[in-house]
Symmetry: C2
Subunit: 348 residues, 2 copies
């Protein structure tokens, strides 16, 4: 029995879409239950209209809502007692296994860090995104929580991302790499090279393959790509923009004449396939990694299907050995660091 706490008020499409998503998730996965946070007068009739969902859910009345344009610092000051905060609180107090929200990412990360705290031995939490590819998906982190990353932060995230890939994609031994550029002799900032050394030395259980370039993220040659939040966010947004551009090429090619529009009719099933595979709601949801509790961020613009994807991913994480994996690998890294400190102390 996995209980998911979710904030019904965060998304751009309103609580109805969130509840439809929860109902869809319920239909495809056994053993889910929900605690739904938001204003009772709004949510109660919506829930009554969805009896299957109502049977699997508790409604928890919260009036206050964090707005999409609230700054993280404002949200932290003023957002306590909001539906977003309440969902995090449910995870912190063990009343739910995972929190899901479609609200403002910065506010959610700031509040989650405040309420759940960073795991011992992890310097900073990161946001992981799921990158589409021909088969499966690649976990990419950090995609925006930290502008810069120390080698230790990158090494932490390699461990967090690896456990996440195993939990969500079911890959027994995910391949992990650091994002870098290929130019000879320009290869990588010092931080990236040091992070590579650190991962090799301290996380021997991880299948670390070294460096990959931006063009390798979606090929399937690697399952986890680790980078700082600035680079990761630029890569993610650039990929989304490129997908939209190519989508535009496809649309233009199939609409520029009557003949082409007729061809589009014949090609409709194929075009629908392409559209479905490029649909961001199929891979909706970023995961906050490195906190004492699971938090999934659904895209603000997600529709019911997108919100259902985020809930199912949250369930995958909640039902996996994700946290145990992370704690074991972190302990190994800490042990290694401690013994190399001891070596250094002996040597000096």
């Amino acid at each position: 029995m996995t209980r998911i706490a979710f904030d019904a008020m965060g998304g751009d499409r309103g609580p109805g879409a969130a509840l439809d998503g929860a109902e869809a998730a319920l239909a495809t996965r056994k053993g889910l239950s929900f605690t739904i946070f938001g204003p009772e007068p709004t949510l109660s009739p919506l829930l009554k209209a969805r009896p299957r969902l109502e049977a699997a859910s508790d409604l928890s009345h919260v009036d206050k809502i964090v707005r999409m344009d609230d700054k993280p610092s404002q949200a932290v000051r003023r957002g306590r007692g909001s539906s977003m905060w309440a969902a995090l609180e449910a995870v912190a107090e063990g009343r739910a296994t995972v929190a899901v929200s479609s609200g403002n990412t910065g506010a959610l990360m700031a509040m989650a860090t405040l309420r759940l705290r960073t795991m011992a031995d992890v310097d900073r939490p990161a946001i992981a995104a799921f990158w589409p590819r021909l088969e499966g998906r690649t976990v990419v982190l950090d995609v925006g929580a930290n502008l810069e990353a120390t080698p230790k932060m990158l090494a932490d995230w390699a461990i967090l991302g690896e456990a996440c890939a195993r939990a969500v994609s079911g890959t027994a031994r995910p391949k992990v790499a650091l994002l870098n550029i290929g130019q000879e002799e320009l290869k990588g900032h010092d931080e990236i090279r040091q992070a590579a050394d650190m991962i090799r030395a301290a996380a021997p259980d991880i299948d670390f393959i070294g460096f990959v370039e931006g063009g390798d993220i979606a090929t399937g040659m690697v399952d986890v790509v680790v980078t700082d939040g600035f680079t990761g966010n630029v890569a993610l947004k650039t990929a989304e923009g490129t997908a939209r551009l190519v989508g535009g090429f496809v649309r233009a090619a199939f609409t520029r004449s009557i003949g082409r529009k007729l061809a589009a009719l014949v090609a409709r099933p194929a075009l629908a396939d392409i559209k479905r595979r490029m649909d961001p709601s199929g891979v909706n949801g970023g995961v906050f990694l490195g906190l004492n509790g699971l938090v999934v961020k659904s895209h603000g613009g997600a529709d019911a299907k997108g919100f259902a994807s985020a809930l199912l991913m949250a369930a995958d994480l909640a039902e996996s050995r994700f946290t145990e994996d992370i704690l074991r690998n972190l302990a190994a890294m800490r042990g290694e660091a401690a013994s190399s400190d001891a070596d250094e102390a002996r040597a000096s």
Copy 2:
């Protein structure tokens, strides 16, 4: 009359492809002539077989070749007298207006910087790439010459990129932006914010629109996107990888059954359109900006058509007011810096 010096030996497809590309460029553009560098015994028969090209070209015998796997530092030590070096020399000595090579990017940049030197007032040269979009293209720089960038470097590149966009795309007043991420309060490294202030204060002639995200590069809302070489390289490679992924979705959708393959026959003209628009050889060529002389890098794997695109882009640059534009804007920036230094001196 624009004379282009090119290294016939740099590309993966051999000198025949380079000469075919030159012949194709000649057919579409009046007033081009070439100085072709490489071993006479190899090139002479190839040139004789292309009489139109032969009439417009001088062959300059050079035996030595920089290999694709030579490191930049090796190339600089050992590459003098190579076909790559000789093409740069022709530009340095005014015997050609622009040098084109398909060779090793790092080696070409190292040698170009050594032979041509960085422009006065420019701290570091950058590599500019041309990003496809529905209409026109966006100039993105730096895509790999410098791992990190100071605010002054970013401001220099805004000026260089703006002149390049005007020369190559013919946009009278290109819109310029710095690449950033959108997260509230995480907005940008200090360097990027300082660069924005510097561009606003010191380059008033430039239509600087502030920050854009990775998803905005290909939309047409901006014509020049400035970033450090690490981020730019990751963005470029990620976009190429995403285009390949979406191409894979299209292929899969049109081949998974007999019915789909028949639909592909009907849709052939539309699919050919899409393929053509995604063909990297249509936008082949990176430009080295900030040197005392024009250098265009063609992709190592470019075919004849790709090499022709690079030569035509080189001709666009050579025939434009590119260098004058840059020098004028740099002088304005220097004047502004000098007067603000004077203000500070007076104030203190």
